[in-house]
Subunit: 192 residues, 4 copies
């Protein structure tokens, strides 16, 4: 089955998610500094979520390069990932509009956590479909980033209810961790 069409559909969904998030930045009615100052938290949330969706697109890109077979399980694991990514605009908008309060901040972490788990499941499905000589399995190695991120998200969710800016700091730190592209896979696939 066509890997190309799975990539095209995922690219389409991620392109739309990354773009409609900006619709939560509502155009203010006034034209002075006071009119846009309340939008600053929303803008920061938007920028953070843009980076996260960018990271997912980037890694998804690498991930599917290694996939040799697309089974029905891979298709649904991929849709599951897209489902959680599709909640980013909502979680981003809610955290931004409420200036990083506890519950919206925890909810943002929850959506990040579910997306991370969905990504992990997708990896496992691709490895299972590819069989014992999976390129991806060798490429992943210890996958410490993939294992550390959910742990950070859980800590951030819990922290949201105590000191919420620590939670936000954790979200930024995890994003920075991932900004470095996944060289393991690049190396395993070899020269482009």
């Amino acid at each position: 089955m066509g890997k190309g069409r799975l990539e095209a559909f995922s690219d389409g969904v991620m392109a739309i998610i990354i773009t409609i998030m900006v619709l939560e930045l509502r155009v203010p009615h006034g034209s002075n500094v006071e009119a846009i100052r309340p939008l600053l938290p929303s803008f920061l949330c938007y920028a953070l979520s843009f980076i996260y969706v960018g990271i997912y697109w980037n890694n998804h890109h690498h991930l599917l390069q290694t996939a040799e077979r697309i089974s029905g399980g891979v298709l649904w694991a991929n849709l599951n990932l897209l489902f959680w990514l599709s909640l980013f605009p909502f979680a981003t908008g809610w955290m931004g509009e409420n200036h990083f309060e506890s519950l919206p901040s925890a909810m943002y972490g929850f959506v990040l956590l579910m997306a991370a788990i969905a990504y992990y499941v997708l990896q496992r499905c691709i490895i299972a479909a590819d069989g014992p000589r999976s390129v991806l399995e060798r490429a992943l190695g210890a996958d410490w980033k993939g294992k550390l991120s959910p742990f950070f998200y859980v800590v951030a969710i819990a922290t949201s209810f105590v000191v919420h800016w620590v939670a936000q700091a954790l979200y930024v730190i995890v994003a920075l961790l991932w900004l470095v592209p996944d060289r393991r896979i690049e190396r395993a696939v070899g020269s482009d």
Copy 2:
């Protein structure tokens, strides 16, 4: 005529439909549990519709793999399917906002029914374009899922006005039926 471009356009439309549905989950103004509790029905409807569009994308994917010729009739049958799918966000939003009341629930079933009929017509158009040795025709076999679903939708529409949760249960059951990918076609096309 290019099957690729038909797939790309359909993928684009389905990717947008699956993503803009989330815009019906309006970001609430408050930041506590009370603020998001009313969104729960909308969220459940969103998740159900996401699965339905996922199923359609998945099966559409298999369907076009078997198509050998894209006639004008196939193009319009495909646009007809996309038209009914494009009403999913409206039907989903209406059912979610009204907590599964009778008329919105029946309307949701009606849109599902029309999409199922449009899918059936598309199958017939592809078989007609491919001629007597159509791969699709052999692959479909008895097509009991395709024949059972509209029947379930009609029952659900009628039931909506009596006990609406039975209708919702039927929508979930049909989705579960289809979650299993269409192995008949996979088998007929052979190894990927």
Copy 3:
């Protein structure tokens, strides 16, 4: 230059236009028949515009198949067409919300007219880029549909201010005229 990328971008824009039009069908707050009855004109406008964008996508598809060279002029003529198509959601929403009144109805015709002119200009640019042996030129022949439609739109715009339902009837008639796919081009390109 890549014809593929021009097609992909145009497909993307048309897929988004055809889908966001449905956002003008605002989810009503009530759940009874009275709540959705006012949406009927909007729904009819949506269906008509869906058919129009479908026709443009379909014909655009055929048009680019014949194009052999994509010059800078073709790129901009294509963007000009997409610009006018992108105003369909606005024109559709305005006509639908105002129950087919005079000015919105004339505006709808104006957008249709500008899109038709933009399509004609795109045809001319492709023929100019392809040179004297253009496949498209031979394929178009007399192009009576392309010449008749703008005339109908002008009549409809004028009629909008007198008896607006005649204008709407003309929009439907032109759509029906075009629903038949452009067999001239299919024939000239030969077997698919």
Copy 4:
């Protein structure tokens, strides 16, 4: 790594940006001339931004044609460009709704400036990835348009606070400058 998927994702994002900008043209409730007259500035802003995104798409298209290697740096430089382009709908909507007042006009120039810088960085990353014999480096030559535009934007931002229509005139002038496609690259790549 696949240049194709980078192009597809960028095309998707740019197609969505160019299309959702039209959502800022809110459908008015009235149906007479008075109802749409206030939308004229928004419409003009939309048309200008449509041309700008069209220019970026067009030039991006040429730019990636010359790229021979897609490094991690190119991926992120591209996402950075898409981020600034994604703010066009907001900046366009704000300037349009406030009839070209000072701050919204300066903000529009700021987004244009950041996008221009992001485009320049993307060019540099592609040249760095391609190495000393980069086709793009030779093709760019003096790149006077790329160097002049940011200067114009800075002047326009400053002018916004004095005579704002001069700023708007500058935005239009830069757009006109770029409307001419980048023949340098076309020439360097040779016949298509």
